[in-house]
Amino acid sequence: MIEPIVKPRRKNPLKRTRLPTSPPRARSRASHGFTRAAAEGRFMLQRCGACGTFCYPARDACPTCLSADLVFADAPRRSKLLCETTLHVPADVYFRERAPWRVGLVAMECGPRLVAHLHADCEEGGPVVMSFQLDKSGQAVAFAHPERETPNMTDDRQWREMTADPKFRRVLVTNGRSIVGQETVTALKAAGASIVFVGVAEPWKPFQGEDTLRAMEGVEIVPLDIGDEKSVADLAADIGGKVDILVNTTEHVRAGGLLDRQGTSIVRDEIDQAYLGFVHLAQAFGPAMRMRGSDGVNSAAAWVNILSVYALANWPVFGAYSASQAACLSLSHSLRAELRPGGVKVVNVFTGPLDIEWFQTVPPPKVAPRAVAAAIVSALKRGLEDVFVGDVAEDIRQRLIANPKAVERELGA
């Protein structure tokens, strides 16, 4: 039975901020199959293509038949907790300062045995359900959950290390003018965020939804024009030390590729807003977040980007926009590596065309802004890193795995 976490009190500014430490990070190359699974919230194990044996830890040959045809495949999550231990004196600094820490050995119904972190409600000898999670080092670890929901289960202290749950965290949503931004604010508040700062450029200009936003408790509208380096720096100077989750809801969508545009002004706008805006935000907020990765219940936890799925494959109808998104995607991988020492996750939410005015001429299916907001909160609660929202994003994801060249040709048709 988990005691609910309590809302942290205002921090004593004279107290030292505990610096983040990381659990052990080294992994074999094959083991990154689990990293991929964890990033997407899937439970995958290696399965032998020749004899069907599931195996673990990651191998380069099947321990039953020696075939090299080992493929990471979705695997049944059901398992039994064989035995457990509580570590009181771990060797590693990260675990030492979090001791006591509970781990166990589980036997998968599909065969292999996994050493796993345990949710506190897992009972020895009982059934458990497995997932792979990204720990504070950004690498995959096995995590055992109780079979059924238990009271306050997301407040489990070992589980909170794996997630970026918005509960009692303070969030900056960068663009309150967009519908996606507004839906995200609503969803984060519903998920228990203690305060949501909402960036609005030129706040004296009214916008649709403004009244609702201003009426919400624990929502604070702040001036933020992410294309303006000084505006971003000013806001960071003001609230940078208390942003635990940053959701970049910047939206700058224009149709067109290269040949039907005259000059570079539209392209420049796209780059200013999407790419340089990202740079401004990262430089202003990133360092403080990285420092605060271990700062208690409301430690800095995640950075969320909303990216077009066409960051992964250019859609010439929105060709220059796709390219700006690809640039942001690349930058996000740099940010991910740079925030990693702080244990701060970078979550990329890939979406197909949104149901907003800028995609007016695009036929359905389109993604409702509310679905994007729900996906963001879900990713934070589950500790995911790569999320695909809606049918178009999922379609592109699958087709890219199958044949990227086909995707290029077909998007350009």
């Binding site: 004196v89 590693d92 675990f95």
Partner: protein, 392 residues
């Protein structure tokens, strides 16, 4: 009793038991410790380094050096070499390989050495890069070495077979009393069962006195023919039988037995003795639960009877079942791969009557075992040897 079809170790002997006294931390390198052991071997045998023509070495902390680099380091010119990275099973494996090399004439005098240093942070570094499965699937869980793995094994064993902490405690406490007679043991003060029970928890049910203390040190012995030993006037021990097994019982959900259980009949058959005939036993004791498991797997009682066996016997040097007479790793210290040799070298001393203050009276035949390599969820390597003194 089954009969063995293996070739006996005819006229092959072990001699010159060497222990370089341990220290908790050392500023010296593993090479320094191995060098001291080699020096003690040649001095003890009255030979020159050039007389060593076979070299078998184990070390976790020798850095980039395997046996071959060490030959140049120590000026050895050998015609047979082996580097054995089997952790706690290294000594048994070294003995087996060296004995066959001598028997076949591939080498005349083989130096078997294990040595490790212990710098301030070197133990953690060893843990961190222990093996691929360990790196991928154990170390990231805060395991802190073998503690977590053995905690899981011990907990399962306790639940399955009714072992209590007091039973493990008896093993640890008895070994401490043995260690108080061994001037080389790092643990110098008596341990009571009350102290054992109230020690701080490390990884439930493993508490402080269930754990070995990492330290620096070296252990060694020579393997040669009976004739060479005689020509050198060296007291020598016969190798009656050995076994070795790796990755046994992989389907057991949690480890409740080691590879010994597969080969134990063969061990006694080859030796031509029964468990009852043994005058002492040196088990590999990185945790008391593993010693208890070996009482079963080495044939002193049935599986599951280990706890009762411990309750029924006096495990001291002068007791009904002299066990880990030096104090074992639990009380002498674990000098890396030297921990594998500790029991083998002590057994050699015992059958030669050279054990001094820890000598078991009239010890003629004894058993030493090895166990090692928690690669993932269990110890993979196991081995055992039965030695006999000149009078046996």
């Amino acid at each position: 009793m089954q009969s063995s079809i293996r070739t006996p170790y005819d006229r092959v002997v072990m001699a010159v038991p060497v222990t370089i006294p341990y220290v908790r931390y050392s500023i010296e390198s593993a090479q320094w410790w191995i060098g001291r052991a080699l020096k003690a071997l040649v001095d003890g045998a009255g030979i020159m380094p050039r007389d060593i023509d076979g070299f078998c070495v184990s070390s976790f902390t020798a850095g980039l050096d395997s046996g071959i680099g060490l030959t140049q380091h120590f000026g050895l010119c050998v015609r047979w070499i082996d580097t054995i990275p089997l952790g706690g099973a290294s000594a048994i494996a070294a003995l087996r390989r060296a004995a066959r090399a001598v028997q076949a004439g591939d080498a005349r005098i083989v130096a078997c050495v294990a040595g490790d240093t212990n710098h301030v942070d070197s133990f953690r570094a060893t843990l961190e890069s222990f093996s691929r499965f360990n790196q991928d699937a154990v170390y990231p869980y805060g395991a802190g070495g073998a503690n977590a793995s053995f905690a899981l094994i011990a907990r399962n064993y306790m639940r399955t077979f009714g072992a209590r902490r007091e039973d493990f405690g008896k093993i640890a406490v008895t070994q401490r009393s043995n260690a108080l007679r061994n001037p080389n043991a790092l643990m110098k003060s008596p341990l009571t069962i009350e102290q054992y029970m109230s020690a701080r928890p490390i990884a439930d049910p493993i508490h402080l006195f269930d754990c070995v203390m990492p330290c620096a040190g070296a252990e060694a012995f020579l393997v040669m023919s009976e004739d060479v030993a005689a020509s050198l006037n060296l007291p020598a021990a016969k190798i009656l039988a050995t076994i070795e097994r790796h990755n046994a019982f992989g389907d057991d959900p949690v480890q409740v037995r080691g590879g010994w259980a597969m080969d134990i009949d063969e061990l006694y058959a080859m030796a031509g003795v029964k468990p009852d005939d043994l005058d002492f036993v040196e088990t590999y004791d990185d945790y008391p639960v593993i010693s208890m498991m070996q009482f079963e797997d080495l044939g002193f009682c049935q599986k599951g009877e280990g706890p009762d066996f411990v309750r029924q016997h006096d495990l001291t040097i002068d007791g009904t079942f002299p066990h880990n007479t030096s104090g074992g790793q639990l009380s002498v210290g674990q000098a890396g791969a030297g921990g594998a040799y500790l029991g083998v070298v002590e057994a050699l001393r015992q059958v030669l009557g050279l054990a001094g203050p820890t000598q078991v009276r009239d010890a003629r035949i004894g058993l030493a075992s090895g166990f090692g390599m928690i690669n993932y969820d269990r110890g993979l390597a196991s081995g055992a040897a039965i030695l006999a003194g000149p009078g046996a």
